[in-house]
Amino acid sequence: MASQVMTNLDPKSRAAAKGLSDLTIRNLFIIPTIAFLIIFNIFPLLYSLAYSFTDFRASTNAPANFVGLQNYRDLLSDPFIWKNFSITAKYVLISVTGQVLVGFGLAMLLNRSIPAKGLITTLLLLPMMLSMAVVGLFWKLLYDPNFGIINYFLGLDKFEWLADPDVALYAIAIVDIWMWAPFVMLLSLAGLSAVPKHLYEAAEIDRASGIYTFFRITLPLVAPILMIAIIFRTMEAFKTFDLAYVLSSQPTTELIAIRLYKMAFQEWQTGMSSAFAYIVLIMVVAITNIYVKYLNKVKAR
């Protein structure tokens, strides 16, 4: 991609002689987008960086006082915040592991000739296109201890999925797995279909066992694409807000994004929440960086 020959920005080119020069067109096409993103994404972040050093509260008219690094110090030494981080870590682990197992499993099952395969694949992908908040909400009915169909089908009598503080996080993760395992499946299928058939044939001639073939051929070749799926889902799970917010208000399911929301828009600790947002931001940018490196690596192949 990078080695591609680029059009030279020659002001005396034939096209430039008549219309706008290539340089003008390039700037005309690119600068508005960059400007838009700087104004509506970067400038607000600078704005909140400034607030993160103050005790500002958006609910009062009191002027903001500069407090230096106090907010950051308070946050990093607050055991409750660490609790939110550990809940989030647990949630990410459960939900991403679940998605990889289910999604990759489905892809392995689908990677053969099956009647109406295209239709089945599209239907399986449907959950990930739906709104997490709206469909997630409906799971409240499915999880209902008295008349939910989940308890009915699993034969669990009045099992409290969302009201039990120890179970609620798993219940949310299950919905997330339902929605996003198809995403892992989609990427895995692409990876599986790219494995050259002759490798399997060679393995068969060598009488390699199924397990051996899987670990020595399938998995290593699918790994890069699977890795993209894992990093992307990790990033998204880390940011989870909608699903957990509509499904549960348990303290045991208070993910970072929910804590941040409450701090900013219910407790109106604007300065403190800006500082918190920055701590989260740095973590997200770090994961994004890894993600993009991987994207480019796979793209280059």
Partner: protein, 320 residues
């Protein structure tokens, strides 16, 4: 996998096919349950064992769009007979439709307005994001840009920001300029969010259009601008359509920004629907009806998009 198959392979294949159908049934059950609940009378929505076979009714949809109150006393036979069919349905459920005292007009619930808001905001932000994104993608695809990879990373990273993180300063800034709870406010946020995605995806599509096409047009005396609009754009149309559908779905489904930035005037359906559950015993048939109507556009679009899903979900990194 061609070739001779052992009985063992055939058996594995059959087991796999059965497993696929079982998985499909499980994955689609929640969606089926939404659809089925939205046609149930209220008393059948929460039964044990679950009601699967029932006589469908559209009363949840009637209730979805109207404001209702509990019936204090039964309507007289005359009142009942005079009411249109949909009002009788509400009577049957032990409620009555709220009407304006003077004009007798039916008071609508908030759903219709929220649905319209969702449509306006999603469509406008999609058009903006795709048009700007296509131009920018062309710029990056065809011209030398110093630090190109860094700019592209910057563009993508704006999409990865958690909504709540961006929402804190945006809320304060919007408050200053009066954009909180306005359509324009959400349109700007969704455009910014989708723009980065559109640039990445469209760059992939435009990279695939051979540059010889434009060069031939330039030789024929087109200006670069004409070559872009008359040669490149028609070739990029499929890609733009797929990108637009993705942007639409993202804006349509968005929850966090809408929850924080709107409360009434410009509120979209995603924050509205959960707000109707409230406390006590919610009427799940009405929620299901609202959810179903909200999901239908996305379901249709998913089918139209089916060949581009992989590309869209991987930001254009993986193509078929």
């Amino acid at each position: 996998m061609a070739g001779v198959r052992t009985p063992r392979e055939i058996l594995t294949n059959r087991v796999a096919i059965v497993a696929v159908f079982v998985a499909l049934a499980i994955m689609l059950t929640p969606i089926y349950w939404i659809a089925s609940t939205s046609f149930k009378p209220r008393n059948l929505a929460t039964t044990i064992p679950p009601t699967v076979v029932f006589e469908p009714t559209v009363s949840p949809f009637v209730k979805l769009f109207t404001k209702r109150s509990q019936l204090r006393e039964q309507p007289t036979q005359e009142e009942y007979d005079a009411a249109p069919w949909w009002e009788q349905m509400v009577f049957d459920g032990g409620e009555k439709v709220v009407r304006n005292r003077r004009s007798g007009e039916v008071t609508m619930s908030g759903y219709g307005d929220r649905f319209t808001n969702s449509l306006i905001i999603s469509i406008v932000s999609t058009v903006l994001a795709v048009s700007m994104g296509t131009l920018t993608a062309y710029g990056f695809s065809r011209f030398k840009v110093a630090g190109e990879d860094d700019w592209l990373f910057f563009i993508l990273s704006t999409r990865m920001l958690p909504p709540v993180v961006v929402a804190i300063p945006m809320f304060l800034m919007y408050r200053v300029v009066g954009l909180n709870d306005t359509h324009l406010g959400l349109i700007i946020l969704y455009t910014a969010f989708n723009l980065s995605f559109a640039v990445w995806i469209m760059k992939g599509f435009i990279d695939e259009i051979p540059r010889e096409y434009e060069e031939a047009a330039l030789v024929d005396g087109y200006t670069r601008m004409q070559a872009f609009f008359k040669v490149v754009l028609p070739e990029a149309l499929t890609g733009m359509a797929a990108t637009a559908v993705f942007c639409f779905i993202t804006a349509w489904n968005e929850y966090a920004f809408a929850l924080i930035m709107t409360n009434r005037n410009a509120q979209t359906a995603p924050p509205y629907i959960p707000s109707q559950v409230g406390s006590g015993l919610p009427d799940w048939t009405v929620i299901a009806a609202g959810t179903l109507l909200f999901l239908i556009p996305v379901a249709i679009f998913t089918f139209l998009l089916r060949n581009h899903l992989l590309r869209g979900m991987s930001f254009g990194a993986i193509r078929k």
